[in-house]
C-alpha cells in the first residue's frame, strides 16, 4: 500500500488469538466453565491455588485442542507437556499459570483466507503454534467514589484456553479480519469454542509494524502489540489506526525497530485510538519450567488419526459441496455455512425435499433467518421443520403455489402445528382453473373499458388495478396468471 504523499509501505501483522475451549469443566479441576455466574461461585481448592491442591488434566480439553489443531493444518506432536509461567498478579492465585512452553500441543499449521473481491485466490497465513493454558481470573478495579479498591473474581480461573499464534503474514487490517472470521468459523463449526468476543471466549492481540520502502531501502518501525479489542470491527479499526500512527511517528522521529523495544498499546473504541499501556516490554522473565505436578502427555498417532476421521467437512469444503450439490452461489453457500451446523443441516434437508437449492437458500436467508432474528431463536427451536419448508417450496416449484400464497402458508405454519397440506386447506387455497381466470378477467375488462385504452396507448401498468380487484374476487387467483390473461385479452380486443 502507499499512504497518500508517502513512501510505499507494507503492513506486517501477526495475531495471537486465545479461544476458550468448549469444555463443561475447567482445565485442571471439575469446576464449571459457565459464563456469567456470580463472582467466586465456580471455584475449588485447585483453581483457587490453595496450599496442597493439585491439578488433574481435563482430557476433553486435549481432544478439543487436537481437533482445533487439525482444523488449522497443524501437526500434533507425539509428546507435549505442561510448564509453569511465573508472574505475580492478584487474578493469578498460584503465582504461576500452567501453560505450554517449548512443546505445544499443536505446531506449524496454516489458514487460507479469501476476500470477497477475489474469492478464487486464497492467501495462506502461517500458524506457528497453538498451545493450551489455563485462564486467569478477572480483576475489577473500582476507582469510583475514591475507594480505589480492586475486586477479584476467580470463576474464570483455570478455564481452558488455546492460544493460536500466527506468523507475521497478514498484510492489512482487512486481512486480519478475514483471518479472524475464518478462524472463528472453523472453531465454532467444529464445536471447539463459542468464540464470543463479548464474553471473552475469543481474545485477540495484534502485533503490528510497518516496512517502509525509502528509495529501495526497507525500514521497519517499532512493533506494537495491541490489546483489549472487543470485536472484529475493533481489531480492523485498531490496526488501521495503528498503521497511520506508526507512519506519522516514524516521519516525526525517524525511530525504527532498532531504536525502540516492543510496546503494548490498548485500544479505545470510543476515541478510535490506540494508547500506550506499557512503555517498554520489560524483558519479562517468566522462568518457565516443567510443571512437576503434571505428567507429560503422550498423544499416540491413532488418537490423532481418530480425531482426523471424526473431524468432518471443514467450512471451505462444505461451501464447495453446497455449491455443486445444490447449485447455489458461493456467497449464499458462505452465508449458510456461517450460520453453523444446525442451519446447514436444515438447509440440506429442505433443499433435498424441495429439489430447488436456490429457492431454498433464498427462503432460508430471507424468511427463515428473519423470523429467527426477530424472535431471538435458534434454528433448533424453529416452528417450521426442514421437511415442511421443503414440502412447501416443492409446491412453489411445481407451480401449485405462488410466492405470496407460499408466504401465507409459511406464516400459518409458524403459528400452528399443521402440515403443509392442512395449512393449505385451512387457508382455503386451491388452484384456479385457467378458464375461470379468463371469465374473471373478461368481467373486469367489461367493467373497466378505460384500462384497455390505457394499455393500448402504452401504459401497461394500468392492469395493476385490475389484478388487485381480481384478488378480491378470488383470493386464489394467481396474480401472474391474471396479468398475463388480461394483457392477452386486451391485445385480442
Amino acid at each position: 500500500m502507499t499512504l497518500s504523499d508517502g513512501y510505499p509501505t507494507e503492513t506486517i501483522i501477526g495475531l495471537e488469538v486465545h479461544v476458550q475451549l468448549r469444555t463443561q469443566t475447567k482445565l485442571f479441576c471439575s469446576c464449571s466453565t459457565r459464563f456469567g455466574a456470580p463472582p467466586n461461585t465456580q471455584v475449588c481448592p485447585v483453581c483457587l491455588g490453595l496450599p496442597g491442591a493439585l491439578p488433574v488434566m481435563n482430557e476433553h480439553a486435549i481432544d478439543l485442542a487436537i481437533r482445533a489443531g487439525l482444523a488449522i493444518d497443524c501437526s500434533i506432536p507425539p509428546m507435549t507437556k505442561w510448564d509453569r509461567k511465573q508472574y505475580f498478579y492478584p487474578d493469578l492465585p498460584k503465582g504461576y499459570q500452567i501453560s505450554q512452553f517449548d512443546l505445544p500441543i499443536c505446531a506449524d499449521g496454516f489458514l487460507d483466507i479469501t476476500n470477497e473481491a477475489e474469492p478464487e485466490t486464497p492467501r495462506r497465513i502461517g500458524i506457528i503454534r497453538a498451545h493450551l493454558e489455563e485462564d486467569a481470573g478477572k480483576s475489577m478495579h473500582d476507582e469510583a467514589a475514591g475507594r480505589n479498591d480492586s475486586r477479584i473474581d476467580l470463576n474464570r480461573c483455570g478455564t481452558p484456553l488455546l492460544e493460536i499464534v500466527s506468523h507475521p503474514d497478514l498484510r492489512s487490517a482487512k486481512e486480519a479480519k478475514e483471518y479472524l472470521s475464518e478462524l472463528k468459523l472453523r472453531m465454532t463449526h467444529l464445536g471447539v469454542s463459542d468464540c464470543e468476543m463479548q464474553e471473552g471466549s475469543l481474545r485477540v492481540d495484534a502485533n503490528v509494524n510497518l516496512h517502509i520502502d525509502v528509495d529501495g531501502k526497507k525500514i521497519a518501525t517499532p512493533i506494537a502489540e495491541i490489546k483489549n479489542m472487543n470485536s472484529f470491527r475493533a481489531v480492523e479499526h485498531a490496526i488501521e489506526h495503528e498503521v497511520d500512527r506508526q507512519y506519522d511517528v516514524w516521519e516525526e522521529t525517524g525511530k525504527t525497530i532498532k531504536d525502540e523495544a516492543k510496546t503494548t498499546r490498548g485500544w479505545d473504541d470510543t476515541k478510535g485510538k490506540t494508547f500506550l499501556q506499557r512503555e517498554k516490554e520489560e524483558s519479562a522473565d517468566y522462568r518457565y519450567f516443567p510443571d512437576p505436578d503434571l505428567l507429560p502427555i503422550r498423544i499416540p498417532q491413532d488418537r490423532v488419526d481418530e480425531a482426523k476421521a471424526n473431524l468432518g467437512e471443514l467450512p471451505a469444503e462444505l461451501c464447495q459441496r453446497l455449491q455443486t450439490q445444490y447449485g447455489i452461489k458461493l456467497y449464499d453457500a458462505n452465508v449458510i455455512v456461517n450460520q453453523g451446523r444446525e442451519l446447514i443441516e436444515y438447509f440440506e434437508t429442505a433443499a433435498t425435499k424441495s429439489g430447488d437449492g436456490k429457492r431454498t437458500s433464498s427462503w432460508i436467508q430471507q424468511d427463515v433467518m428473519r423470523t429467527l432474528n426477530e424472535n431471538q431463536l435458534g434454528i433448533e427451536d424453529f416452528a417450521v421443520s426442514a421437511a415442511q419448508l421443503g414440502d412447501l417450496l416443492e409446491r412453489v416449484s411445481r407451480g401449485d403455489l405462488d410466492n405470496a400464497r407460499a408466504r401465507d402458508v409459511f406464516s400459518h405454519l409458524l403459528k400452528t402445528d399443521h402440515s403443509v397440506e392442512d395449512a393449505i386447506k385451512s387457508l382455503g387455497i386451491e388452484s384456479v382453473d385457467s378458464g375461470d381466470i379468463e371469465v374473471l378477467c373478461r368481467e373486469l375488462l367489461d367493467a373497466n373499458p378505460q384500462v384497455i385504452d390505457d394499455v393500448k396507448s402504452g401504459k401497461q401498468q394500468a392492469v395493476g388495478a385490475l389484478i388487485g380487484q381480481a384478488k378480491k374476487k378470488n383470493a386464489n387467483a394467481n396474480p401472474k396468471q391474471v396479468r398475463e390473461t388480461l394483457l392477452q385479452l386486451i391485445a385480442q380486443s
Binding site: L50, P51, L54, P90, G95, I152, D285, R287, P292, D293
Partner: protein, 496 residues
C-alpha cells in the same frame, strides 16, 4: 506411655482400654512434655476426644472399625486438615485453616485413627533441625539441648517422647529419615507416587512424599498400609495395587537376599565414627540373618547434594509464589510509605507481605530457586541439575541390578546441639548427604534405630530399595529388629 500402635489396638479389642482413655492419656502426655519438647503446633483435646468417643461407640455397637481404630496419630503441620490450622510452621500461614483435608488425612479418618494434633517442623519443611519453625524449635527427647532433626522434627520427637505411637511426616530430602534417626524411631519414605500428595503443602513437588513414623517396623507398616495407594486427585500418584505389608513381616530369614553396602558412604569425610560403626555392626546382623553383603558404588553420589539444592529450591520458588498476601495467609497491613510510593501499592503489598511472612531459610531458598530458573541461568543450573538427576537414577538402576537393598548411614552425625548449624546453611545442607539420593531417584528408604553413641544419642542405619519395593524394606527392617533391641530403647523420663 503409649509406644506401640499394635498394643493400643490390642488393649481396645481385649476391652482393657477405651479409645477415650487412650486419647486422654496421649493428650496428658503431650501436656506434660510440650513445654520441654515443643513437638506440637496445635492440639485439640475436645476434637480428639469426640473422635475417640465415636470410635468407642462404634465398638460398643459392633460396627465395623478401621485398621487404626482408636490409635492416636500426630500429623505434620504441612498436611491440610479442615478442622485444625495448617501453618507449615510459618508466620505466612499462622492463621490459615484449609477448607479441605489432605488425602492422607481423609485416609486416617476412614481408618478411625484419632488425629490428635499437628506437629512442629522446619518452616515449609525447609531445614534439618526444626529450628526454622516460626513456633520455636522442637527439642530432642534424648537430650533437650539437641535438635530432633528436621524437617519432621516434631513428628519424630512426639513419638520418641511417648505422646503418640504413630505420626505422619513428609520427606523431601530426608525429612522423615534424618529426624527419625536423631530421635531413635523408625521412619519410612515411600516411593514417589506411592502415597497421594493431595493436600500436602508443596515444598518441592517432584521430591515430596508423605510417610509413616513409629517405634517399630510393624507400626510403620500398619500406618503405611492405611495411607498408600493410587489417588486420582494427584496426577503423579502411581496406579499400582498396594501389597499387604504386614504379611511381609512374618519371617526374619534373609537368605537369598543381597544387600549392597555403599562404599562412598563409609569413606566420605565428616562421617562420625559411631555412625560408621553402627553401619558396620548392622552388616553383621544382616549377614547372620542370611543376607549376602556386597560392596557397591553409586559413582554420582557426590552430586546428590548439589543437584538437590538446585532442584528443590527451584520448585520451591514456584510453589511458594502463591503466598502473596492477596488471597489468604499473611498480608502486610501498614505499608512502608516510601515503598508504596516507589513500587505502587500492589507490588509493595507483595514485597512486604512476603518479607514479613517468610523466615530467612525460606527466603534463601526462594532466591536460590528464582536464580536457578532465570533466563540465561536455567541451562547452567536447573537444566544441568535435571541431567545430573538422570545420572543419579541410572546409578541406582545399575546398583539394583546387582543387589536387592542398599545399606548405609542416615546422616553423617547423631543429633547435633541446637544452634550449632542454624547460622551455617552449608553445614545444615550436608545433613542431607545420604538421604537426598532416594528423593532424587524416587525410591523408598527406611531409617532404623541402630543403638546409641557414647553420649547416649540414638544412631541409625538406612536401607534403600527399588521403586515400589516397600515390602522388601519392611521385611529386612523387621528382620533387623527381630534380632536387635535398638527400637526398644527409650529416652530417660523428662519433663513433668
Amino acid at each position: 506411655m503409649l509406644d506401640s500402635a499394635q498394643e493400643v489396638l490390642q488393649l481396645q479389642s481385649r476391652g482393657e482400654a477405651t479409645a477415650v482413655e487412650i486419647t486422654t492419656s496421649a493428650i496428658d502426655r503431650i501436656d506434660a512434655t510440650q513445654e520441654s519438647i515443643n513437638a506440637f503446633t496445635h492440639v485439640d483435646r475436645e476434637l480428639a476426644l469426640s473422635t475417640a468417643e465415636a470410635v468407642d461407640k462404634k465398638r460398643r455397637n459392633a460396627e465395623p472399625l478401621g485398621p487404626l481404630a482408636g490409635v492416636p496419630v500426630a500429623v505434620k503441620d504441612v498436611l491440610c486438615t479442615r478442622d485444625m490450622p495448617t501453618t507449615c510452621s510459618s508466620n505466612m500461614l499462622r492463621n490459615f485453616r484449609p477448607p479441605y483435608d489432605a488425602s492422607v488425612v481423609e485416609k486416617l479418618r476412614e481408618a478411625d485413627a484419632i488425629i490428635i494434633g499437628k506437629t512442629n517442623m522446619d518452616e515449609f519443611a525447609m531445614g534439618a533441625s526444626t529450628e526454622t519453625s516460626a513456633f520455636g524449635n522442637t527439642r530432642n527427647p534424648w537430650d533437650l539441648s539437641r535438635t530432633p532433626g528436621g524437617s519432621s522434627g516434631g513428628a519424630t520427637a512426639c513419638v520418641a517422647a511417648g505422646t503418640v505411637p504413630l505420626s505422619l511426616g513428609t520427606d523431601t530430602g530426608g525429612s522423615i529419615r534424618q529426624p527419625a534417626g536423631f530421635c531413635g524411631v523408625t521412619g519410612l519414605k515411600p516411593t514417589y507416587g506411592r502415597v497421594s500428595r493431595y493436600g500436602l503443602v508443596a515444598f518441592a513437588s517432584s521430591l515430596d512424599q508423605v510417610g509413616p513414623i513409629g517405634w517399630s517396623v510393624q507400626d510403620v507398616a500398619l500406618l503405611l498400609q492405611s495411607i498408600a495407594g493410587y489417588e486420582p486427585r494427584d496426577s503423579t500418584s502411581l496406579n499400582h495395587a498396594v501389597p499387604d505389608y504386614q504379611s511381609a513381616l512374618q519371617s526374619s530369614d534373609l537368605r537369598g537376599m543381597k544387600i549392597g553396602v555403599l562404599r562412598e558412604a563409609l569413606d566420605v569425610d565428616g562421617v562420625d565414627e559411631a555412625v560408621r560403626q553402627a553401619v558396620l555392626s548392622s552388616i553383621d546382623v544382616f549377614r547372620q540373618a542370611g543376607a549376602e553383603i556386597i560392596e557397591v558404588s553409586l559413582p554420582h553420589s557426590k552430586y546428590w547434594v548439589p543437584t538437590y539444592y538446585v532442584i528443590a529450591p527451584s520448585e520451591a520458588s514456584s510453589n511458594l509464589s502463591r503466598y502473596d498476601g492477596a488471597h489468604y495467609g499473611h498480608r502486610a497491613t501498614t505499608l512502608d510509605p516510601e515503598k508504596a510510593e516507589s513500587l505502587g501499592p500492589l507490588v509493595a503489598t507483595y514485597c512486604q507481605s512476603r518479607a514479613e511472612g517468610f523466615g530467612a531459610e525460606v527466603k534463601r531458598r526462594i532466591m536460590v530457586g528464582t536464580y536457578a530458573l532465570s533466563e540465561g541461568y536455567a541451562d547452567q543450573y536447573y537444566n544441568q541439575a535435571l541431567k545430573a538427576r538422570r545420572l543419579i537414577k541410572g546409578d541406582y538402576d545399575a546398583a539394583f541390578s546387582q543387589v536387592d537393598l542398599l545399606l548405609g548411614p542416615v546422616s553423617p552425625t547423631p543429633a547435633f546441639p541446637l544452634g550449632e548449624k542454624v547460622d551455617d546453611p552449608l553445614q545444615m545442607y550436608l545433613c542431607d548427604l545420604f538421604t537426598v539420593g532416594a528423593n532424587l531417584a524416587g525410591i523408598p528408604a527406611i531409617s532404623l534405630p541402630a543403638g546409641k553413641d557414647a553420649q547416649g544419642l540414638p544412631l541409625a542405619i538406612q536401607l534403600q530399595a527399588p521403586a515400589l519395593e516397600e515390602t522388601r524394606l519392611l521385611f529386612a527392617g523387621a528382620a533387623y529388629q527381630a534380632t536387635t533391641d535398638f527400637h526398644k530403647l527409650r529416652p530417660d523420663t523428662f519433663g513433668s
